[in-house]
Each structure stands twice: as structure tokens, then as C-alpha cells.
Amino acid sequence: MTVPELQIVNAATTPGYINFMTAFIFGGAQNDAVAELQELRDEGDTNVSIEGAESSFRPNYDFEFDLATDADALVDRVAAVMTYVTLSEDSRTGIVDAINAIPYDPSDGGISAANRVHLAILMVMTTPDYLVQR
């Protein structure tokens, strides 16, 4: 350890961060939040619109979905957006391997495409390259 910031990086927070980002990137956290908002609306406790909440908190990955069939292109795109093309080659290789390990099925209603995109983003956001802001 060379810097105090890493005092909070430990055996619990490391998986904890991965799980937290998983919930947001794969959309589970937003689904829960929208369900709660719907309950509040049903009980008349708020008039915040569901559409408004969705558009505020759910990231739009449409551009990335179009690249889902090409692991290299997908990872390059995510690396460009999230690391300003500073993703190291070894990190990139591992992510491309992981994406290619998810079989793409054009007839599954977008499930495999979404898994590829979500996992690419999660993996870039859990690299040391991304985690240390330079």
C-alpha cells in the first residue's frame, strides 16, 4: 500500500464494488428502483414519472448493442468511452476472451447481445486501468 486511499480497498469492498456495478450495469438496481417508484405512485406518495426515472438512471447502451457481434470492436468502443483509450493490452485481451466466451445467438431476443455488452462494460470498469484515474 502506498496511498491512504487504498485503505478502503479490501477483501470485502473489492467484491462489493464489483457487485454494486453489476447491479447497475445489468439493470437490476434500476428495476428495483422503478418497482419501488411504482409502489410509491400507486400509494399516491409521489407523481415522479416512471419514464423520467428510467431516462435519468438507465444508461443507453444502444450504440454498444450494435457492436455486440464483434468482441474486438465492442471492447475498443467501451475502452474509448471509459478509459480514453488507455486500457492496457493485457486487460483488453482478457475482456475480449470473456466476450467471445459468451455464444452470440441472433434468435434469443437480444439476451446474449445484452450479456456481451453489459459484461464488457463491467469488466472495463473493474480493471486497474479504469479504477485509477490518471
Binding site: T2, V9, N10, A11, P15, N19, D90, T126, V132
Partner: protein, 466 residues
């Protein structure tokens, strides 16, 4: 002639050795022994933190008729709401060996604390009365004249939780459990001890953080897990392998120093979790049944961890567990009785488990809380206080004693900061010091860990038997 042990012994038994030089030899050996913490055998300290501020007045109750009557009068607004469990006839009378310290006075625990009552009566639990954060001895006069240094931001939850754990308010870096562990690790660092000496069942706790020591967090079922793997359910082994290497930053070759540190931390984290889970496979199946409550399950996880202490390669450990809900501004009669039951069931089961594991003399558990509460009621609850009464449980505890003081349940006495909020008679550091020595720390290491202890002429040196 070269000086070896034989010639040293020979010369030291000679008549030429004067009494003065014997004295200096003894003093030198004494100093030598006092240089380092004793880390032989195994010992563990367990902090049970009761978040919110447990009402001391409603935990150790006055039992002699006159004191009880006055207490019942002061708390008349909601004592009826207990459904009889605060009736004098239903309280569990304590018979401390040091009753003569409290002439004419008797004390009792609530009926929800039958297990702790039994542990006290058997000599395996002590009560420390009116303990709380202090910087130096503080009387009511000094307090009212504001002529004494006081812990900053008294009566504030987050600050007093922090002060109990670290002697400083919110923003503190190191807790005394962490500092105790630092002294231990100075003797036995390296290997797994660096990772598994301090363990929390609750969070990334200040109490367990030292210069070197940091808390390893366990969940009720073991080490923290990555949910993606659970979702994959073993259906894509190739992906799992690549992901595991990725999260562990196993193939990271970057040269940036901070990124390398980050990668090393990720590797250490996943390796620690794997080691912990591997060691946990050898955990004892305990006959002792723990309650299903959150505290019960946290202490069950601690007991399982104790059972694999050899696999974790530790000979000293400090644990932190806790529950919330003690901030009983309202509905105290309902809330506190349930919490007392939970604390009682969990701690009693934990003590039984340490007996089952054959280490009851090697494990000491103590309770702590933000603060005590005011004696005055606010209708159906109580407000924030300061000093409080706490339990210390274990085979090496000089049990069946009420240490410290239990000020009378009334107003206007010398420890009353107003409304029956108690000015502590024993500081948290005086309470902590004997547990530090029991753990093996030298007096100088205890003094380093507890920055204000030098302001007090003594500590609770009769708390522990050894």
C-alpha cells in the same frame, strides 16, 4: 575467553556478584521482556457494539427496595408498558462478590437477560458500571465549570461511536482494536496473520483499523462473494475462468504504480477470500445452537472462525460485531426488551460455543455502545446520555463483580450531567487497558494504543484474572 551462556552462568553465580548488579540484571531482563507483546498461545477479543446507545438505567436496574421505588417513580410514564417485566419481583437479582463496594444497594438485570445473569453469577461475566469516553478524570463541578477537557461532540451518535472505538470523534483513522493488533503484528506479522488478525462481521470498522492491521470482513456465511459467478451457476466454465483471472487482476502488467497497487489489492482480496473459504471448510460443527437473530448469526460466524484459527495461522484475533436499534427515544418498553433478549441469547450461546471449543479462557467478549441514556424519561422513551454499564464475558474475566461505579438512580448527584445523563467514572481507555494487557500487550504498547490513558492514575486492573 569468549563469553558464552555457560561462562555467563558460572560467573553470575560467583560470590563477586553484588546485590546491586543482581538488581540491574533483573531490571535489564525486566525491560527486555517488556519490549514486545506476548503472542504465545491463542487469545481473542470480541467487541459487540450496540448501535444507538443502550439505556444503561434500563439494563442494570436498582433492586434494593428504596432505589427501585425511586427508579419506578422516575420511569412511571412507561414502566407499565413492559407488561410486568420491570416489576421488581420479575427482575434477576445480582449477587456480586464485591457487594460491599455498594453498601445498602442491590442491582438486578431485566428478565430478558437470564443468560447473562447466569454467566455473572457463575463468575464468567463482570459488569463495568458507568464507563464512557473521557479525556481526563471529570467531576460534575469540573464539567459544569467547563474547566476540564471533554471528548468533542458528546451525545452525538456518529461522534461517540467513533470516540468509543478510537478515542476521537468522526473522522478518526485508527481504533484501539486496530492499535492492539498493530502491537501483536509487530511480533507475528507475515503470512496469513496480516489478513486474518482483525475480523469484522459488520463493516469496514474503525475499531479494527490500525497502522498495519485492517479488518477482514466476513458475512454470515463466509467470505464475500462475486454475484456474477452465482448467476452463471457453473454453466460457462470458460467464461468463469477468464472472469476470475480478470477480477483478480491476475494478468495485469501495467507499470503505473497506483494501478499496480490496485491490482495487488485485488489479488490479495480474492486470495484472502479463497483462503478463508478453504479454511472454513474445516470449521467445527458446533453442538451449541445460536439464535437466528442477526447478532446470534454474527457471533455464530465468529465462533466458526475461532474453530479454524490454526488454519488461519493466527494466535491473536480481534473481532467486531454489532446490531442497531438501541436509540430508544420512543416505544422503549417494546424495543429494548426485544434487543435485550437478542443480546442475551447471542452472547450466552457464544460463551457456550467457546466452552465447547475448549477456549473459554482464551476469548473475552465485551459490549460497547454510542453512549448510555438519560434517566429522565421523555414520555415513552429516553434521550441520549454519556456513561453506560457494560458486560465483559469470558473464562479469564474476574466475574461476579460490578467494577467501576453505578451512580444512584436519581438526579443531582455528583455524576449527573443533567437529567440523569451520567458523567463516566471509568473512561473507555481504563476499560480497554486490562483487555490489551490480557491480549499480551506490554504496558507501553497499551499506552500507545490509548492516547489519554496517561491522564488517569489507574485502570480496571482487576477486570481480568491473568
Amino acid at each position: 575467553m569468549t563469553m558464552n551462556r555457560r561462562t555467563f552462568l558460572k560467573s553470575s553465580t560467583g560470590a563477586a556478584l553484588s546485590a546491586a548488579s543482581l538488581g540491574s540484571v533483573t531490571a535489564t531482563l525486566g525491560n527486555f521482556e517488556a519490549l514486545a507483546a506476548d503472542t504465545s498461545g491463542y487469545k481473542a477479543l470480541v467487541c459487540v457494539f450496540l448501535l444507538g446507545g443502550m439505556d444503561n438505567h434500563d439494563t442494570v436496574l436498582p433492586y434494593d427496595q428504596a432505589s427501585y421505588d425511586r427508579y419506578a417513580q422516575i420511569r412511571s410514564g412507561f414502566i407499565g408498558a413492559y407488561g410486568g417485566s420491570r416489576d421488581r419481583a420479575n427482575l434477576l437479582a445480582l449477587s456480586p462478590d464485591n457487594a460491599s463496594n455498594f453498601p445498602g444497594r442491590e442491582f438486578a438485570l431485566p428478565p430478558q437477560m437470564a443468560g447473562l445473569h447466569a454467566l455473572f453469577q457463575q463468575g464468567n461475566a463482570a459488569i463495568v458500571g458507568n464507563v464512557g469516553p473521557l479525556i481526563q478524570p471529570t467531576s460534575r463541578t469540573l464539567f459544569e465549570q467547563e474547566s476540564v477537557a471533554l471528548p468533542p461532540r458528546l451525545f452525538s451518535h456518529n461522534d461517540q461511536q467513533s470516540t468509543w472505538q478510537s478515542s476521537s470523534p468522526e473522522g478518526a483513522q485508527f481504533g484501539w482494536g486496530g492499535r492492539f493488533a498493530d502491537a501483536i503484528l509487530a511480533q507475528s506479522s507475515g503470512g496469513l496473520a496480516d489478513t486474518f488478525t482483525n475480523i469484522t462481521g459488520l463493516g469496514n470498522e474503525l475499531f479494527l483499523t490500525g497502522q498495519q492491521a485492517s479488518p477482514y470482513q466476513i458475512s454470515l456465511s463466509g467470505a464475500a462473494t462475486v454475484e456474477v459467478f452465482e448467476a452463471l451457476e457453473g454453466r460457462n466454465q470458460t467464461l468463469e475462468t477468464v472472469l476470475a483471472q480478470h477480477f483478480r487482476a491476475a494478468n495485469f502488467m501495467g507499470t503505473n504504480l497506483l494501478e499496480r497497487d490496485m491490482a495487488a489489492k485485488a489479488q490479495a482480496a480474492f486470495d484472502a477470500n479463497a483462503l478463508f473459504n478453504q479454511a472454513s471448510m474445516g470449521a467445527a460443527t458446533l453442538q451449541t445452537e445460536f439464535p437466528q437473530s442477526f447478532l446470534g448469526q454474527q457471533l455464530a460466524a465468529v465462533a466458526r472462525t475461532l474453530s479454524v484459527r490454526d488454519s488461519l495461522q493466527v494466535n491473536r484475533q480481534v473481532f467486531f460485531v454489532g446490531i442497531g436499534g438501541f436509540d430508544t427515544h420512543d416505544a422503549q418498553a417494546n424495543a429494548l426488551t426485544g434487543l435485550h433478549s437478542q443480546v442475551d441469547g447471542a452472547i450466552t450461546a457464544f460463551f457456550n460455543a467457546t466452552q465447547e471449543l475448549g477456549i473459554a479462557n482464551d476469548v473475552t467478549l465485551f459490549t460497547a455502545s454510542d453512549f448510555g441514556r438519560a434517566l429522565a424519561e421523555n414520555g415513552d422513551g429516553t434521550d441520549h446520555g454519556w456513561g453506560a454499564h457494560h458486560f465483559v464475558v469470558g473464562g479469564d474475566v474476574q466475574g461476579r463483580q460490578i467494577l467501576g461505579d453505578i451512580p444512584i438512580a436519581d438526579f443531582g448527584h455528583d455524576q449527573d450531567a443533567g437529567n440523569g445523563r451520567l458523567i463516566p467514572t471509568t473512561s473507555v481507555e481504563q476499560f480497554a487497558a486490562p483487555m490489551g494487557r490480557w491480549l499480551g500487550l506490554t504496558q507501553s504498547e497499551v499506552t500507545t494504543a490509548l492516547p489519554n490513558i496517561v491522564n488517569f492514575s489507574s485502570d480496571l486492573n482487576t477486570l481480568m484474572t491473568a
